[in-house]
């Protein structure tokens, strides 16, 4: 069975700086795959390659088994790839409602706008209360929910989440992971970048560990959880 997403031997970077060195990973339909690694390992860069915000120098990204090399970044949402970027990146002076509407900009999503609105509001009832408020005035946790909801409005088949728990209070982090679990139960395929290893490996099917732009370890989440190397390096146990 071909994977929904395959990153195959990707080199990438910014200007003269190479950040990724032959990164390969796969996400199969219905999985939650987590991409782990410390600061500056290249997790965000990997997600940016998948969305087309930067182009790989070598290797390729395949979606449904087909190369995305010729697909412009603004056409990838239409194919079913959505990113919740690190730091939310909402449109702060638009209302929550407007943020959600624009999340469904491409044609396919616009057709099912009201259905998707109902769906994200069921997932995050808080957003319904806040829908006329400017996105920039929301609390950190609400902004993260708004960012996830905006990505869901594009009706994705693959949801990329870049450190959704970053900077949130512990109780809000729990709600976040609960929402991710709920999406997974509904059949969503997810690639989750996290520094919160324990929580990520708890909900993930499989995981990859990147270090300085290279995949160091990969495997079933359960196996990674008990891997002595990981426990020593990342969990301090």
């Amino acid at each position: 069975m071909t994977a929904l997403l395959e990153v195959r031997g990707v080199d990438a970077g910014y200007g003269d700086v190479q950040v990724l060195f032959g990164v390969s990973l796969q996400v199969r339909e219905g999985e939650i795959v987590t991409l782990l690694g410390s600061n500056g390992a290249g997790k965000t860069t990997t997600l940016r390659c998948i969305c087309g915000l930067i182009s790989p120098r070598k290797g390729e990204v395949l979606f449904h088994g087909e190369s995305l090399a010729a697909v412009a970044p603004d056409h990838r949402a239409g194919l079913g790839i959505a990113l919740v970027p690190e730091g939310r990146e909402l449109w702060p002076q638009l209302t929550v409602r407007e943020n959600l509407e624009l999340g469904a900009y491409h044609r396919r999503a616009r057709r099912s706008l009201s259905k998707n609105l109902d769906r994200v509001q069921a997932l995050f009832p808080r957003l319904l209360e806040r829908k006329s408020q400017l996105a920039g005035s929301l609390s950190g946790g609400e902004q993260q929910m708004c960012a996830i909801a905006r990505a869901l409005m594009s009706d994705p088949k693959l949801l990329l989440l870049d450190e959704p728990s970053l900077g949130l209070a512990p109780i809000v982090v729990d709600q976040m992971f609960e929402a991710v679990r709920q999406l997974h139960r509904e059949g969503m395929t997810l690639l989750l970048v996290e520094q919160n290893l324990v929580a990520a490996l708890e909900i993930a099917t499989r995981g990859y560990v990147v270090e300085t732009g290279r995949v160091r370890l990969e495997g079933e989440a359960a196996a990674l959880r008990s891997d002595p190397g990981i426990r020593a390096a990342y969990l301090g146990i």
């Binding site: 969305c51 915000l53 970044p73 603004d74 056409h75 990838r76 949402a77 239409g78 959505a82 990113l83 970027p85 990146e89 909402l90 449109w91 702060p92 002076q93 638009l94 407007e98 509407e101 624009l102 999340g103 469904a104 900009y105 491409h106 999503a109 616009r110 400017l134 905006r150 990505a151 594009s154």
Partner: protein
């Protein structure tokens, strides 16, 4: 005396319509693309000549030629973006390049106008040019009323477009975070092109409207560009309400200044206002909101 003050106030309100139209395009382009369109002055001049030419050649009423002028200027803006502006770096790093380039385009337009139309002052005289209507005891020229009406309708329509339509919302979103727009599937380059076309069309509209009020020559547009800057700085970027209030402030200050200073200094008043705002409220009266 009271009557005179009333006159000045009413005429300031009417003038503010023109000022707001003039400034809105400049603020829209800067807010969305982070490019200072120095050719704004050139397109104000071009709009005035287009209205004058259509009237001179075909006897077409300036208000009737406005739709055609808008369409043509929109296309000029789209081409300017696709052919020139798109290729340049933008924002803090690339500000100088686009500034110089668009200034160059303005110079070319201006010199072309000198070649074709000479440097003589032109006016558009219609059957109603000298007509006036009584209003609250004052006499108001029909042209001033019409200019105000067109400006009001235009700004109202723009406001609705930006707040009610998908594309309009996308324009505001691009101003705030273009990368998030790309991720949502918004064709950001096309939005830039559309915005540049809209801003350019607004400049030409202001020029066409101005023919009902002023004589002009190829140098026309320079003072108007500077006044547009004043309004944008006072009113913030792309907020229709902010622009309207700022335009009104400028028009009121200009009009009332003739009570205390000689009239040839009126156009300098705006710049004094600009300097005051920059010193006292560097974020503008309405803060840094961008197309909120």
């Amino acid at each position: 005396m009271i009557e005179h003050l009333l006159d000045l106030t009413v005429s300031a309100f009417l003038l503010a319509g023109l000022y707001a139209t003039m400034a809105y395009g400049l603020g829209l382009i800067y807010g969305v693309l982070r490019v200072v369109n120095l050719n704004h002055g050139g397109m104000i001049m071009a709009g005035a000549y287009a209205a004058w030419w259509a009237h001179d050649q075909f006897g077409l009423d300036p208000y009737l030629s406005i739709p055609i002028i808008l369409v043509l200027a929109f296309l000029v803006g789209v081409l300017t973006y696709a052919g020139l502006v798109r290729r340049l770096p933008r924002g803090a790093a690339g500000g100088v390049q686009s500034l110089l380039l668009l200034f160059g385009v303005w110079l070319i337009l201006r010199n072309a106008a000198y070649l074709v139309f000479s440097g003589n002052d032109q006016t558009v005289l219609t059957s109603y040019s000298t007509k006036a209507l009584p209003f609250l005891g004052a006499q108001i020229s029909v042209n001033r009323l019409a200019v105000f009406g067109v400006a009001l309708v235009t700004l109202g329509a723009l406001h609705l477009f930006l707040t009610r339509t998908y594309v309009g919302k996308a324009i505001r979103a691009v101003a705030q975070n273009p990368e998030s727009c790309t991720l949502a599937g918004v064709p950001v380059q096309r939005i830039y092109m559309l915005t540049f076309g809209l801003g350019t069309a607004l400049a030409s509209l202001a020029g066409a409207l101005a023919t009902g009020l002023y004589a002009f020559n190829p140098g026309f547009g320079a003072t108007e560009l500077l006044k547009s800057f004043v309004v944008v700085v006072l009113g913030g970027l792309g907020s229709v309400a902010g622009t309207a209030v700022a335009a009104l402030i400028l028009a009121l200050v200009e009009n009332f200044s003739i009570l205390v200073i000689p009239s040839y200094l009126t156009s300098a008043v705006g710049f004094v206002l600009l300097v005051l705002v920059l010193v006292l409220r560097p974020g503008g009266l309405f803060g840094q909101r961008v197309l909120g």
